[in-house]
Symmetry: C2
């Protein structure tokens, strides 16, 4: 655990919070989406929250942490879903939200502090240049850009730009190491892979430079279908329309839209599957023509709604990605979810097949994206949860049918993602965090190099008090 | 031919040119790219050129043409390649270049007169809003937007937005009919198909509304490869990079880049195949990383060139699309070209296969595009022309190998394109041009409804003086 008292002395003058209730509050994220993570991580808490006001204070904190051997878990707004920002071994929760300055807006790019909230960042780039960031999660209005890059993978905008892992979607990340004399490194090109989606295990991102795209007053549209298959086919066809600009394109299977989208419920029959679209204003005519050709019924259009109707309606991006799940959890706290890739070119057929296999136990929710240059979809299906064993069986069925699962019920980098260690991230941890203090327990390759990811065994980080992992 | 003397009286006060030399000059386009069209159309000329200053004068001219039964062939800048704007039956050449006003710039769209030159249109939208049109031909600096929509199909930008045929790439076209009392129609949605790529056979486009995208100071890059296959694979991979924004992506097979790109010749070895890229400035870092991963050699970058080097170098879009052919014709007037689709997902293999079959008789030139939502390429191969029979045999070989040819050696809509009549365009001609005066001879379905497009026979419009078609 290290010498926290000494650390406090070394960072004297920095903003510190140690009220246990408040520290615990800042020690969690949306891990409770998963009944597995809820069981494993519910008691996790840090010892204190440190909120540096600038990069110099981050450097000072990390030097102190290195000297005192105190763990440091970096946190943006805590909107991750996998315990990414939860301090498994206690110590410092590093709250980055004060580093939120937006600078250097140019045609096509912006520089922002890691703590900038994405919605606020976009308000600034929109006002000054008519631009916005390419990609954001459904937690756009609360999440930080640094947290998204350290813990996210894509979201709204991925239908045009792919994911954060794709070259060009991050231009530069500025990173502070956890050493006796912390270094401040500007990473670009292939070096970005060292810290992107590394959960802050091997450095603290203080600033990022990102590409921008043209900002529009996106129109929210709901289109209704009598079957999931019809909705999926419509969305897939729309995603392949090169001239119709959309920013997000989701499919939500009946009865979820009616049951979960309470504010929009009056527009939706319970047996309707719904396609949720964010549409460019200048694409409205083409979209209407496309719908007419497909005989598709538009249920709701934000540009046709009265001010009275719009009042209290959430934007389409808050019906999409993890917000679909969130709305479901508010209605029915017993559900959970999965994250599945339906690979190109079989997505539409695979979605139909999995729906036939699972029925209402796993009602699907799709997000169309570009993936390696092709239009396909991820599934974020709702799972009507019974037992962890059944959840594992559902995952196995998806994978046996050619749909890789990115397991959202795991808190480690390896188990949640590609089922393999990232040697680049591991090597950089050796350089940038030699004492292993940054976000302990999240990188199996560091904690337990001999752990066999192919064993099918769940990794249990020994740094979490053992009694609590029962 | 109709009563031209009467027509002149009816349009008194409008700008008219009847000097035979000048009329002949305005009666041609780039038909001479094709030895077949050159033989067929070389003598074609109109009787007079009329240059209306506004839409009211277009209406007046078309009413007069209807009354006097004088053919009217509409022309922008005459940069088409298939004789689209050539007056096969003489009569009026309708020069639209005076209708060039740019109005209504909004986020995502612009309205422009049909005669606006695309480069000038973009200069205006860039200056006022940081936007530019999505698509333009390589004749960007001289061609009109109305001519592009009436006679073009795609070009620079198609790697992002597909072609003009795709829903959303034209928002509105304003069209004047050729009737006793010409109607002025604003066509949107599916109705756009009536006049887009109809060569002005069924109405005169006076104004268009188009989508815009973000404008950038595109960087021109040449990348060199030791084989066409390596260049093709690199371009295909780059086209599938969702996060790297390019505006054009072409491959030119050795020895064409060295032999034809005379201003860039000093950068290129004769045995190098070259990938020509227009790259967004904010994608430079990602592109460099991509090239390093592929061990690809960058031969030229406009952002690294000195002012002295840049002097006199044409922009990358003037090395691409039909400008590749144009540069070839300047060096070797005996060549011609074809237009081929390499369908997804076999483009890379098909390109290699056709190169093996044809060798240096048909050195290839590829333009990567989005086509029905997938990244694939068109071929605009150079053909070392010998005889028309051999040209037909080359076309047949492409088609026998699954590569549809859009024959640029035909002046009719049907034979140049999809090998079938467009019933929507035909029906609209019946309404909008009941006397068949607009651009005679270009729509076989109108001129000769019984002509069998599947017969393999060449359609010869009897309205061209027969002796000349020998």
């Amino acid at each position: 655990m290290g010498d926290i008292a000494k650390l406090r002395r070394l960072i004297d003058g920095m903003r510190i919070e140690d009220n246990p209730q408040l520290v615990k509050q800042k020690s969690r994220d949306f891990y409770w989406y998963s009944p597995v993570l809820k069981r494993q991580l519910d008691h996790v808490t840090g010892d204190l929250v440190v909120s540096p006001k600038d990069e110099a204070e981050v450097v000072r904190l990390l030097a102190a942490a290195h000297e005192c051997e105190v763990p440091v878990t970096t946190r943006g707004a805590g909107t991750g879903n996998y315990g990414q920002a939860m301090p498994l071994s206690g110590g410092v929760v590093l709250n980055m939200t004060e580093l939120k300055g937006v600078t250097g807006v140019k045609p096509g790019s912006v520089t922002a502090g890691a703590g900038a909230i994405m919605f606020e960042l976009d308000e600034e780039t929109r006002a000054t240049s008519g631009q916005e960031i390419r990609l954001h999660p459904s937690t756009y209005r609360t999440a930080t850009i640094g947290g998204f890059i350290a813990g996210g993978s894509g979201g709204v905008g991925s239908i045009n730009w792919g994911g954060l892992r794709d070259l060009g979607n991050i231009i530069r990340a500025r990173v502070v190491t956890c050493e006796a004399s912390p270094r401040v490194l500007d990473l670009t090109g292939d070096d970005l892979g060292k810290v992107a989606h590394a959960y802050g295990t091997n450095g603290v991102i203080t600033e990022v430079e990102l590409p921008l795209s043209a900002a529009y007053a996106w129109i929210d549209v709901l289109v209704g279908f009598d079957s999931l298959e019809a909705a999926t086919r419509f969305a897939d066809d729309l995603g392949h329309q090169d001239g119709i600009l959309v920013k997000n394109l989701a499919v939500v299977s009946a009865p979820l839209p009616h049951d979960y989208f309470l504010r929009h419920q009056k527009f939706i029959r319970r047996d309707q599957s719904v396609v949720v679209v964010m549409l460019a204003p200048h694409a409205v005519g083409a979209f209407e023509t496309f719908c007419a050709r497909k005989r598709a019924a538009i249920l709701f259009r934000s540009d046709k709604a009265t001010a009275e109707e719009l009042k209290g309606l959430p934007p389409a991006y808050e019906l999409s990605w993890n917000h679909t799940t969130l709305r479901g959890l508010r209605v029915d706290p017993t559900i959970t979810y999965l994250q599945v890739l339906y690979p190109y070119p079989n997505a539409v057929d695979l979605v139909a097949k999995m729906a036939r296999i699972f029925g209402d136990e796993v009602p699907d929710h799709l997000e169309f994206v570009r993936f390696n240059g092709n239009v396909t979809c991820f599934g974020l299906p709702i799972v009507r949860f019974t037992t962890e064993e059944r959840l594992e069986a559902i995952i196995k069925t998806f994978e046996d049918n050619g749909c890789p699962v990115f397991n959202p019920h795991r808190y480690t980098l390896e188990e949640g993602g590609m089922k393999q260690s990232d040697p680049v991230q591991l090597a950089f941890k050796g350089e940038a965090d030699p004492k292993g203090l940054l976000n302990p327990g999240k990188m199996i390759a560091w904690e337990d190099p001999d752990f066999d990811l192919g064993s099918g065994k769940l990794y249990l980080f020994p740094g979490i008090p053992a009694a609590e992992q029962a």
